[in-house]
């Protein structure tokens, strides 16, 4: 919880410190380092993340070859992390040397190319051929001239489910058969009704409609924004369809009403409060962390409704960094082919480097926690068939507004129609 206070304290503190420093004649604050440190000089790099990216072992390895580099990781909660970054860029103080940006926010930041270091300066445009083309494009400035961020992972979709609970409900447990239950989202809901009818006590079919909605929108060719960066929530039939289907989950009593990433949701994993959860590759790491006792009970099936991407991040260097050269080298290292493969095996976040998808070490990778599910194969297939979607600058804000609407229906405050009307009003206010 402390990040919330840091969110206020850090900008205030830095602002006052800066004011002090300039009052004392300036200069003093700046002469610690130029754009590149002298060889052997101690350099401290701050890496700002919004969760465990599985980088810690990589830092240790990096330090072996770069003894003068000290790496400090600063982790804040998802929304706070991105909001803080906006503030720190605007006030030109307090940002880290390397900042992770999630795909929902990437357009917000690539729209301000003046605030970030062009990674081309440090030769990182050489990495273009490594990447999935759309992932590479997302990290470029609007005019495509500058390389502002290098991708870490992509969130190809799958559906995680609890084998033991499916068995209790009399449903098939084999992952191919389970996938066969729900080629479409409508069939997913039908399966949910069967699950509910079996009356497994203390368990709902799915955690909450929010992330399901996000997945459905991500599967559509066009999502919340059109190519001209206009919000099209009101007119895109795919969005409305996703809204309706998500509410059907609620109205049939299939959700556990546990908002994603909240403490009760974490408890829900441990208590087995829900039998399925939408599973972008990075979610597998979450499940493993939250449901430590449920090893072997979870499994992974194909997602209803075809492929889509949910989540994934880029690493960027704010211009205010004092060590852009060292930071760029670190980004190059953290996103390298080998290291993306390694992070996948440990944390589950899936590489954005297609050469890895056919690599035997990925293809044959299985995880005992998920009943030896071939997660390498599943997510490679998901990533290969991904069709990228254009994301707008306020993607995350629009999603929050819609998420609130789904929440109001879930809490029985409004009918889906009333909630939708309010969502459209709220969306209009997003500037």
């Amino acid at each position: 919880m402390t990040p919330r206070f840091r969110q206020l304290a850090v900008p205030l503190l830095t602002a006052s410190l800066l004011a002090l420093a300039s009052a004392c004649g300036g200069g003093a604050a700046n002469n610690t380092a130029g754009p590149a440190a002298a060889p052997g000089e101690k350099v401290k790099l701050t890496v700002g993340l919004f969760g465990d990216f599985g980088f810690k072992p990589l830092y240790e390895e990096y330090k072996k070859t770069h003894p003068n580099i000290e790496i400090v990781e600063s982790v804040t909660q998802f929304n706070d992390h991105h909001n803080n970054l906006v503030k720190r860029l605007a006030t030109n103080a307090g940002a880290g040397d390397v900042e992770a940006v999630e795909v929902g926010y990437i357009s917000t930041f690539t729209a301000q190319p003046g605030k970030f270091v062009d990674l081309k300066q440090y030769g990182l445009d050489k990495r273009q051929s490594d990447y999935l083309d759309w992932k590479w494009q997302q990290g470029l400035s609007k005019d495509g001239q500058q390389v502002l961020g290098l991708g870490t992972d992509v969130g190809g979709l799958a559906m995680c489910y609890r084998k033991d609970l499916f068995k209790k409900a009399g449903l098939p447990t084999d992952r191919t058969e389970v996938g066969g239950l729900w080629p479409t989202w409508e069939q997913y809901i039908e399966t949910g009704k069967k699950f509910a009818a079996a009356g497994v006590s203390g368990t709902k079919f799915v955690d909450a409609p929010g992330e399901i909605f996000r997945a459905m929108v991500n599967q559509a060719p066009v999502g919340l924004y059109d190519a001209q960066d206009q919000i099209i929530v009101a007119t895109n039939p795919d969005v409305k369809k996703a809204w309706d289907l998500s509410n059907q989950l609620t109205q049939n009593g299939l959700t556990a009403k546990l908002a994603a990433f909240s403490p009760p949701w974490n408890t829900g994993f441990a208590k087995g409060s829900f039998a399925t959860i939408i599973c972008p590759a990075w979610m597998t790491g979450f499940i493993q962390e939250q449901a430590k006792d449920a090893s072997g009970k979870w499994d992974i099936a194909p997602v209803p409704g075809g492929s889509g991407n949910s989540g994934g991040s880029h690493l960027m260097i704010p211009k205010q960094s004092k060590h852009p050269k060292e930071a760029a080298e670190l980004i190059d290292f953290l996103t390298s082919k080998d290291n993306q493969a390694r992070v996948f095996k440990e944390e589950g976040t899936f590489p954005s480097i297609p050469a890895l998808y056919d690599d035997p070490s990925i293809q044959n990778f299985t995880k005992p926690f998920f009943g030896d599910a071939p997660i390498g194969k599943i997510y490679s297939a998901a990533a290969k068939s991904l069709k990228p979607q254009h994301l707008g600058p306020k993607e995350a804000d629009v999603r929050t507004v819609i998420g609130d609407g789904l929440g109001r229906v879930e809490q029985g405050k409004q009918t889906p129609d009333q909630a939708w009307a309010q969502v459209l009003e709220d969306v209009k206010k997003i500037k």
Binding site: L8, S262, G405, G407, Q411
Partner: protein
């Protein structure tokens, strides 16, 4: 000057210095407070008023003057009024029982007891606990599925309450957290005032056969009236500014919605949280400043009304 006798010059110098000392130095002594107040109180207040007249966001360097437009939009913004209602509701629900309880607790402690100091210190303990810890623990107690309060309620056959989801229930939950932190603190202030009440009054009342409750009503409360006025005003100002509790409750209760919106239906978004949402997640400083000013006016009005109400209390409060 040099033609004047030396002693006279000295005398005059001394008397000038003396006058200066008497006239000026008191101001010099209080100056640090007023300088700090100007820097951190008055200036932000005035600057906020200036910002509120502009279309001012953090992300753009252009700040166009728009006059009172922000205030107009604000007065037509349903979410602003919703936040105002929530603030008043949580304020009343937390302050009224809290002060009654505090007077009662102070009354209980205002007698010879063993381990007096221990009791008094333990009153203050909830107040020195970090608000984060308080809200996180209480959010778990008020949990829907595995919370202790619902567990206890289930003994009496009550169904599980989704505390964070409902408007009234979330206000009750938040008020409980606020009361937990501030009741003991206010009780201590009341206790200090009660100890200044002459003992003879109670002795005389006891001889006349007045019960403890009558003594509290007829002697204690009228005698500590200035303190009650002070506590009521400070508590209502505090209640109008509640932000940490709903913000953290949103993050830790699982009610969904962005943490700053106070639940998906904004069921427990307070005014201060509304200002925070506009200013620090939407970065609309102009709008947030306008909301801050209206909030300031609301605080003045509420504090004023409470002052008038409590001042009228001549006899017993109860």
């Amino acid at each position: 000057m040099s033609s004047l006798p030396l002693a006279a010059t000295r005398r005059r110098g001394r008397s000038v210095r003396h006058t200066l000392d008497v006239r000026v130095s008191p101001y010099a002594y209080v100056a640090p407070f007023f300088l700090l107040f100007c820097a951190f109180g008055l200036f932000p207040l005035a600057y906020t008023a200036w910002v509120s007249l502009h279309d001012w966001t953090l992300l753009s360097d252009e700040h166009t003057f728009v006059g009172l437009k922000n205030f107009g939009t604000l007065l037509a913004d349903g979410y602003f009024w919703n936040a105002t209602f929530n603030t008043l509701s949580i304020g009343v629900l937390s302050t009224v029982p809290q002060l009654l309880l505090a007077i009662w607790l102070a009354h209980l402690l205002n007698r010879r007891l063993r381990m007096q100091t221990l009791f008094r210190i333990s009153l203050l303990l909830p107040n020195v606990t970090s608000v984060v810890a308080v809200v996180v623990i209480f959010s778990q107690l008020f949990g829907r599925d595995f919370g202790m309060i619902n567990w206890v309620l289930s003994w009496f056959g009550a169904g599980s309450v989704d505390w964070a989801a409902g408007t009234a229930s979330s206000h009750v939950a938040l008020s409980t957290m606020i009361m937990w932190r501030w009741t003991g603190y206010n009780a201590l202030i009341f206790l200090a005032a009660m100890q200044a009440v002459p003992r003879e009054l109670y002795e005389a009342a006891t001889i006349d056969g007045a019960s403890g409750f009558t003594q509290l009503r007829r002697i204690t409360i009228p005698m500590i009236r200035p303190t009650i006025i002070f506590v009521v005003i400070v508590s209502s100002i505090g209640a109008m500014q509640i932000i940490a509790e709903p913000l953290l409750f949103g993050a830790s209760s699982g009610a969904g919605g962005g943490a700053v919106s106070g639940g998906p239906d904004r069921q427990y978004q307070t005014l201060a949280l509304f200002v925070y949402e506009q200013g620090f997640t939407k970065f609309d400083f102009g709008y947030a400043s306008a909301a801050s000013w209206l909030m300031f006016l609301a605080v003045v009005v509420v504090a004023g009304v409470n002052y008038l109400l409590t001042r009228r209390v001549k006899g017993g409060l109860l």
